[in-house]
């Protein structure tokens, strides 16, 4: 049951809240030049909805069965039959309830983001002058707004299947472990469709903001304009759009219509295209730059390389015949961890190093940061890369004891190696923790713009006080005018009207 909780907590309580909740709330107003979000009260509401959700999840640990028993995908009938697994009682119900709360909270949050970005940009901040971070958040908010209600509806039906014994997802009166049969007539596959309709976009929800932030960091530390800003924007929009019609690739072998599987396969292949464009553009951004290998930059480069691995294994899996073989094996686990941990978390880490001075007015220790990056990067690959090999051998996921299958015994040493690496990876995060807490108090003071970055938030005080800005920001250009031939310095902030005004900026700051 631990993997259910690991997956749920990581996805819904760590990555999405940090990316969308934390950074979104903090950075969006700063980057577009607003005092605050459009609806601070709605934000509070959303925040307070998170707590009952979190409470439900934690509480479900202490219910019989120690946590929900149906995996984070919660496939019925396993998740609906009341006694099909040890954690199928109240633990599963609480899990469902917690997820509904999350759904409502995220919906409120995403409404807030969209409204803020549409309506509260500073004068001159056109849509195509927004930093990629804001674009990432904006597209994420749209995806959440569209996809989450579907999951919420599905969860409500599942809850009613569990509590009211209806039968939306039960095919007929089936009894597991002598439970009383519930009513039938439903469709187990329906849940899978509705679930993946949300949960596939959820992957992009988790990675798009990180993509945006990495774009910003790469451009800033390459001292070079972001290569192909508009194609980048179009490609995240395309990822979002296509992301909605590829959910079926999670269900190739689930027994759904095989012809439909083919169409899902094509759309899945297509989604690799915008992702590829992004990767090439990131590389193009670095090419010909003047790279400052600071900690955030290292994390960004790590993000790009991990994303390449994750993306390529994604193409491999998108081919249904190959998917037959690696479905539900460690190959999938490797893929998703490369994308979610390798990419998202590395991006988030880099972002924390990057924006820490803005948040707390102090710099983080760069040497410790580099050490942290190095260890994380090495152990990350040590942990997740072997999973590909395991998966190729057919090592099944979600097994409490895979060595029930005799063929898997030879893979034991590799698993032990992965475990050591995972422990190492955990230990490396302690360095980060020490650095984070320590720098809050003893780090060197940061001025407004420690990285000589262009975007709007670096014009505000560090840390920004109430109302964010102490002047009326007016935007004159896009956020990536680094090394502009007209300027003496290698950056050209968005608020500066003319190249000749650059000196005044230094005075103002």
């Amino acid at each position: 049951m631990l993997f259910t909780m690991h997956a749920t907590i990581m996805i819904f309580f760590v990555i999405i809240p940090i990316l969308a909740g934390g950074f979104g709330n903090y950075l969006i107003p700063l980057m577009i030049g607003a005092e605050d979000m459009a609806f601070p009260r709605l934000n509070m509401c959303s925040y307070w909805f998170m707590w009952p959700a979190f409470g439900c999840m934690i509480l479900s640990f202490f219910m019989p069965g120690h946590g929900p028993g149906a995996g984070w995908t919660s496939y019925p009938p396993l998740s609906v039959l009341l006694s099909s697994a040890p954690g199928s009682g109240n633990a599963q119900t609480l899990w469902t309830l917690g997820m509904i709360f999350i759904g409502v909270a995220s919906m409120m949050g995403s409404l807030n983001y969209m409204t803020t970005i549409i309506q509260m940009r500073a004068p001159g901040m056109h849509m195509f002058r927004m930093p990629m971070t804001v674009w990432g958040m904006f597209i994420t908010a749209i995806m959440q707004a569209f996809a989450l209600p579907v999951l919420t509806a599905a969860l409500l039906m599942q809850l009613s299947d569990r509590v009211l014994l209806t039968g939306f997802f039960l095919p007929e009166a089936i009894a597991a472990n002598n439970a009383s049969p519930a009513s039938g007539g439903g469709q187990p596959l329906l849940w899978q469709h509705l679930f993946w309709f949300y949960s596939h976009p959820a992957v992009y929800i988790m990675i798009l903001p990180a993509m945006g932030m990495v774009s910003d960091m790469l451009s800033c530390f390459s001292r070079k304009p972001l290569f192909g800003y508009r194609p980048m924007v179009y490609s995240i929009t395309a990822i979002a759009g296509l992301g909605f019609i590829v959910w079926g690739h999670h269900m190739f072998i689930s027994g759904m219509n095989q012809i439909l599987a083919v169409s899902f396969m094509v759309s899945t292949m297509l989604i690799a295209l915008p992702s590829g464009i992004k990767v090439f553009n990131w590389i193009g951004t670095m090419y010909g730059g003047r790279l400052h290998l600071t900690t955030p930059m290292l994390f960004s480069i790590g993000f790009v390389s991990m994303f390449i691995i994750g993306g390529l294994s994604g193409i491999v899996m998108a081919a249904p015949p190959v998917d037959i073989m690696i479905h539900d094996t460690y190959y999938i686990v490797a893929h998703l961890h490369y994308v979610l941990f390798g990419s998202s978390i590395l991006g988030v880490m880099g972002a924390i190093y990057f924006w820490f001075p803005k948040m707390f007015g102090r710099m983080m220790n760069d040497s410790l940061g580099k050490l942290h990056f190095l260890l994380t990067f090495v152990f990350l690959n040590g942990t997740f890369y072997p999973m590909h090999l395991l998966g190729a051998k057919g090592f099944p996921r979600r097994y409490a004891d895979p060595y029930q299958l005799e063929g898997m015994l030879e893979l034991l040493p590799m698993n032990q190696f992965m475990t050591y690496c995972a422990i190492g990876m955990g230990a490396a995060q302690l360095i980060f923790l020490v650095n984070f807490v320590g720098s809050m108090f003893v780090g060197p003071k940061a001025d407004r713009n420690p990285w000589n970055s262009n975007s709007l938030e670096w014009s505000a005080p560090s840390p920004p006080g109430h109302g964010n800005f102490d002047f009326q920001p007016i935007v004159y250009r896009g956020p990536y005018e680094y090394s502009h031939p007209d300027t003496e310095t290698d950056h050209f902030p968005q608020i500066v009207a003319e190249a000749t005004d650059m000196k005044n900026v230094e005075v103002n700051a």
Binding site: E172, H193, F244, I245, G248, M256, L260
Partner: protein, 132 residues
Amino acid sequence: MNETGQPTHKKNSPFIFIIVFLMLCALTGLSFWIGRSHLMEDKFTGWSAMMAVSVAKAMLVVLFFMHLWWERPWKYVLTLPAIIMGALLVLLLVPDIGFRTERYSQERNSSAAESRELTLDSVNSEDVHFER
């Protein structure tokens, strides 16, 4: 409303709302009539007719009651994708699980009206005793 600026709003008079309202009532009557008319004999025709009426009603409400007729079409930017996405979801759901009765277990099929000739697995004579 003035400060949020909707200058085009002034054109609409109460009459148009009354007309729309009457049309809505008439359309409700129409769909009610379709439900009982011979159109329903062919299910596909009947259902499409009924859905067409519903879409017409929804459009009336959206355009006039929700003022979209007088406003710039910016709202479509997000509601239209939602509608498309929703339609897509349903469209992709239906071929997959809506029409796969051939894959149902025999037990389930035996409850269908047309296939009642199928054997009844569930009836097991040992379970029945004659009492009284």
